[in-house]
């Protein structure tokens, strides 16, 4: 081999080694949320403001959920996240399993300063979001108003899109079958109620396009592939503002749920993480979130200070909260495995 070639190879190898191990330094405080425009909003009003105020450098990451990933990170050790935004069932399962640190509620201002269901020992509510009936207002002048209308393919012809899974779908089916929102989970807790929901779904089955990622339904609605759907409201409402669409959301036919901030067990930056969570749940900071993301918030005080113009568009304004169905997290933690299995058996028929 030519000597210069050998030197070149040696240089390349050492450069590679340098690049491969370059990141093995002490870890900075890391916050992980769900990406997209909602995390962009969080970055603007929470992360950057926190860094500026406290001088703590903050790394951000994003994920798409999955308690299994958190369990792996915590039990495997060497976890690379500190503060994570999780969905409600992840908050319950993870807290029970000891994956999260207990929160310091005196720093957070007490559990009473948050809306119902947004405060647990190791999780504090971050945002409130809604999924429910949406349709294109340019297609129907007098559009669907209830889940029963959603099922009425004679009056509102065209495909519908629903989430490929049991969650939200069974609730909608029961409400379409005449069950009052307040009784939905009572009925679903009985075997007969589950049968009833699947039977109602049978009626609509040929007209459903199933979605997996929440990004799909607005896209399907925009392209005209479906005429209505069960979708996350915030993205649909944002499209009206940003793309001049005329999408309508139906609050009485919606389910809302809370996302939470948690701190992963064994975080090396626990004290800073607690400061960050406190900062992100302070009323004066939280109240800036709804206008940017069109999602609700959890601090009662912040709720009173929200810009009046966006109040009709967010899940936590009193009018919307009154008519919508709160997701029963306990029910889904208990039943996800088996109802999901049954849903797939049903879908295969």
């Amino acid at each position: 081999m030519h000597p210069s070639k050998r030197v070149g190879i040696a240089m390349a190898v050492s450069l590679c080694a340098l690049w491969l191990t370059g990141s093995a330094t002490a870890r900075e405080l890391t916050v992980t949320a769900w990406g997209g425009s909602s995390q962009a909003a969080q970055k603007k009003i929470y992360y950057e403001a926190f860094s500026a105020k406290s001088g703590v450098k903050l790394l951000e990451d994003s994920w798409s959920g999955g308690i299994g990933l958190l369990r792996t990170k915590v039990q495997g050790g060497n976890a690379n996240w500190d503060v994570v935004q999780v969905e409600a069932d992840e908050a319950v399962l993870g807290c029970d399993e000891g994956l999260f640190e207990k929160l310091d509620w005196t720093m957070l201002g007490g559990k009473d300063s948050f809306i119902k269901g947004a405060a647990t020992d190791c999780a504090v509510g971050s945002v409130v979001w809604t999924t429910g009936l949406v349709y294109d207002g340019n297609r129907f002048k007098d559009g669907p108003k209830t889940w029963a209308d959603f099922w009425d393919v004679a009056k509102f012809p065209g495909k519908r899109t629903m989430r490929k899974g049991a969650k939200y779908t069974l609730e909608s089916a029961l409400m379409a079958d005449g069950v009052a929102p307040a009784d939905v989970y009572k009925v679903l807790r009985t075997p007969a109620g589950v049968d009833r929901a699947f039977k109602k779904l049978d009626e609509l089955k040929p007209h459903i396009v199933w979605w997996t990622a929440g990004s799909q339904p607005p896209q399907l609605l925009a392209s005209g592939e479906v005429v209505m759907g069960d979708a996350y409201f915030s993205r649909v409402l944002a499209a009206n503002k940003a793309d001049g669409r005329n999408f309508k959301v139906v609050w009485p036919a919606s389910v809302y749920a809370i996302d939470f901030w948690v701190i992963l067990k064994g975080s090396p930056n626990k004290a800073q993480a607690m400061q960050l969570v406190t900062f992100m749940t302070r009323p004066e900071n939280q109240k800036q979130f709804p206008p940017l993301a069109l999602q609700g918030i959890t601090s009662i005080e912040a709720g009173k200070q929200i810009d009046a113009a966006v109040v009709p568009s967010i899940p936590t304004s009193p009018d919307n909260l009154r008519v919508a169905l709160p997701l029963d997290v306990e029910f889904w933690v208990d039943n996800t495995d088996q109802l999901n299995q049954r849903f797939n058996a049903w879908a295969s028929k």
Binding site: C16, W19, L20, T21, G22, S23, A24, R27, T30, T32, W34, G35, G36, S37, S38, Q39, L59, E60, D61, S62, W63, S64, G65, G68, L69, T72, K73, Q75, G76, G77, N78, N80, A213, G214, S215, P218, Q219, A222, S223, Y232, S234, R235, A239, A242, D243, G244
Partner: protein, 277 residues
Amino acid sequence: MDGWTSAARGEVAWRQVFRFYCGLVFVFLVLPIAVIVPLSFNAGSFLTFPMPGLSLRWYEDFFTSPKWLAAVYNSFGIGAATTVLATTLGTTAAIGLMRLKPRARSVLGAVILAPLIVPVVITGVGVYFLYAPLRLTNNYIGLVLAHTVLAIPFVVLTVSASLHNVDGSLLRAAASLGASPVVAFRRVMLPMILPGVVSGAVFAFATSFDEIVMGLFLAGPTQRTLPIQMFNGVREEISPTITAAATLLVLLSIALLVTIEMLRRRSERFSAKARPS
């Protein structure tokens, strides 16, 4: 009309059908890119036709966001390292496998294929539990090793296939003329199996370049790869920036491959001139 010309005509017709069929397959291969490129100039934020207007906003987003540029850098680095490691390990193993008895070859072959069979989520969790205590998470080494595991079956299988047509007598001839095994490999065997090795390397790179699950488990915020960045926020929206990123990557790959092709042709011309006729 005599028989000879009609046979030739038949052959010409068959050749036309064959070319038309291949043309359709090529259309199928590039069809998705054909819709992605125009959509990357869409002024609206939904990926649908008709487009409300034209704009460069998604390209602006790509170039002004440090996350996208870092993801491109990470993906190329991890992909290149994976390609080198997987191609080296896989090619040597494939050559060794050829010399084993059929039964041993078959059993070892199953072991080597296994990373392709076991769903990546399971491998992801398992590998995390192994790598975390060794501090191989949150850095490039762990990701490269994990991607190499996934890429190896592609290299071994592709190289093995091309080894079948290697004429063993040529190697024996080289050895009897006094060539060392290494020289015989480089001068005699490698040129014959090169298409297979290159195909394997391409697969290794592609495997790493489009891998998301291992990345989710093993990467830290500073090692995010392109596919992870693309799935960012998919719970609510698909950012049309992914179409801009894809268009740029396609352009880059065309530029790279065309450059390689030009260089190859030039060196061919030179060597043709240099050779005394």
